[in-house]
Amino acid sequence: MRYPRWLRLHLAALRALLVLTAVLGVAYPLAVYAVGRLPGLHDQAGGSFVELDGRTVGSALIGQSFTGPDGKPLKRYFQSRPSSGGHDPMASGASNLGPEDVVDRPGRQSLLTQVCVRSKAIGELNGVSGARPFCTPGGAGAVLAVFGPRAADGTVPRPTRVVSVNESHTPFMASYKGVRVEPARPGEDYAKGLVVPVRGDAPADPAVPPDAVTASGSGLDPDISPAYAAIQAGRVAQARGVPPAQVERLIKEQGRALGFMGEPTVNVLKLNIALDRAYPAR
């Protein structure tokens, strides 16, 4: 029996797809798998797992949380970067919040406030200043909603009302252009006001480094910057009752690949394992 031409064409296409699936979708990945079993590749292909005292404590490539049951950072461990998925490898991903996400909404902190909250907490934990540009001393985004007639360029030269949108208590500044700054009231919508982030006088290069206050792309970043490791060393040493110099000696900075690729990093899990080996918990 002879099929019509259009059907023959599609059957040919189906046969082509099936034969290519056998080659590209079965033989190819199996061949790569077989080569990956060879010594030298075997560990990586399996997942780069690392062990301590005979138990698998994680993968050297996958970041994890070093927090207690209450979710607070454990002082005896170096802390990883923030993760939007709580370091759960089954929920990898980023926050996807934009660079001008500065106004908190009910149930969701703005990215700016998240950065400020983290900076303040990390500063307190490690005994350094948590101050940042565009952050209030209380650890919220320093953002005003300015109401009043708009000028031609969109600004508000003579405001009638000014609200500090991310603070429900005493605002970070008393007055703006001669108008008293009010705290935000829950449930009120300030969308009509002009959003004005206030820079403040914090240094542009704060003590808490950028990677410590931003969530990574994967949510599983295994690394921190050497600067973030450095500000944590004293606190870890104190928690373990050892001199800071000994903890600092364990920090293995991984330089740029070939000297110019990527950025210098410190692997947090490996560092914490080295700590536990050298100074086991009493």
Binding site: A45, G46, G47, R55, A94, D101, F134, G154, V213, G262
Partner: protein
Amino acid sequence: MSTTLAGILFIGSLLMALAVVYRPLGDYMYRVYTRPSHSRVERAVYRTVGADPDGEQTWGAYARSVLAFALVGILFLYGFQRLQNHLPLSLGRTPVKPDQAWNTAVSFVTNTNWQSYSGETTMGHLVQMSGLAVQNFVSAAMGMCVAVALIRGFVRKKTGHLGNFWVDLTRTCVRILLPIAFAAAIVLIAGGLVQNFGGGHVADTLTGAHQQIPGGPVASQEAIKELGTNGGGFYNANSAHPFENATAWTNWLEILLILVIPFSLCRTFGRMVGQNRQGYAILAVMGGIALVSVTLLNVFQLTHHGTVPAAAGGSMEGVEMRFGVANSATFAGATTLTSTGAVDSFHDSYTSLGGMMTLLNMMLGEVAPGGTGSGLYGMLILAVVTVFVAGLMVGRTPEYLGKKIGSREIKFAAMYFLSTPVLVLGGTAVALAVPDGRAGMLNRGAHGFSEVLYAFTSASNNNGSAFAGLTVNTVFYDTALGLCMALGRFLPIVFVLALAGSLARQGRVPESAGTLPTHRPQFAGMLAGVTVVLVALTFLPALALGPLAEGIRS
């Protein structure tokens, strides 16, 4: 070494690597597409398909084969996802829901690899490696086939024949993509990518918690995902995930894989038309635009203008520490200049102007250097438009590579160029007009608009990257973006093949004193100008409402 210098060396070393492989790979691909002999494996494939490998096809037959192969691919992949719970290695995953399965099937067949699903929780290993990854190969190959058919249209005279799709497809997969992908996959494993079939491993962490770490045949898929400018991640975090991109040097290698075929195809083009300088002219335009774009993207990201980047002290939100800001920006440039859409950092959190560059790259129509094959045919269409514009200026019938560009040819070129803007701008307008479309935005105001514009730009240009804050796993977005991907891929392909058919039927016009030379800097400059001006005229109003409104603020 400073971050800036390291970032410059990173780009410079990529350029050197591309320059080194340009001739050998381009020449190799030239031989693949022009040698008459078939290997034994290939003969076996042709016998199974029932195709006569020496039988040539007209443009219509070629296009019908392309469309039939794509349609079968979509149906097969749809069924595969819907039935995955009955198949081995499914890891207990449930069937993918219908609208999402449609979206994903279209997405992978069209080389878009837009993902409204999250890989680690939605897809079993078999669907990933035997369904999605196979389309990573064949959809990339399909683009290269169409590009080669277009070149044949320029080369051949007084014939209706453009080659044989089944032969081009098989050779591209078996002789070009498979060997490179295999070698790359092994190197990537050495860097730390996983390749196993386990369902995951539960680690007892130092703090006494449990962490479930997934596995999978990732390295084999990652290699072809970049090489074929596909971009569909095995995991939700895509190439930011340490198991997909473990070190700074795997990041470098993945960028190289993304760029290597699109650039080297210029050499293949030059060889096929018998004038290498024509290939260099196209390469110069692609390379020039790409270099400007990547440089700007690096500058915008490193100067971290904007409230949150300034507060953080760097554009590190959504960026991995081992790559850093500069190398992530370079990856973002490569992935959006081609039709890849893999991401090693999250564009939604980029600075306003950095995010705009990724959008603009896609709006260029992905021709610098563009996807595998699709970049070259896109640029050749723009070359046709350019000789037409030049012809209008001096009042001569335009020619390109010895072929007259008459009204029939320019109509196909114009329809090719118009199809994507219609889908992007029309789709964005519809999404903003209906509540289901507006509901998906994560960010507010101008940035929310950018998310929607990005989604339709990405889908219609078959890129697949996202301002990932947008919630796209909804019936509205799955359906609408699926339609944009299908039309954005196959309408242009049909117009390209129709143009190729019309060119092949012509004889050759002998070069005369009045012929515009198309290998000189003058023409290359004009081609770059036409590319940028056409895009600016089409998309500036939309950009002004989104990233420009957000980025240019007092």
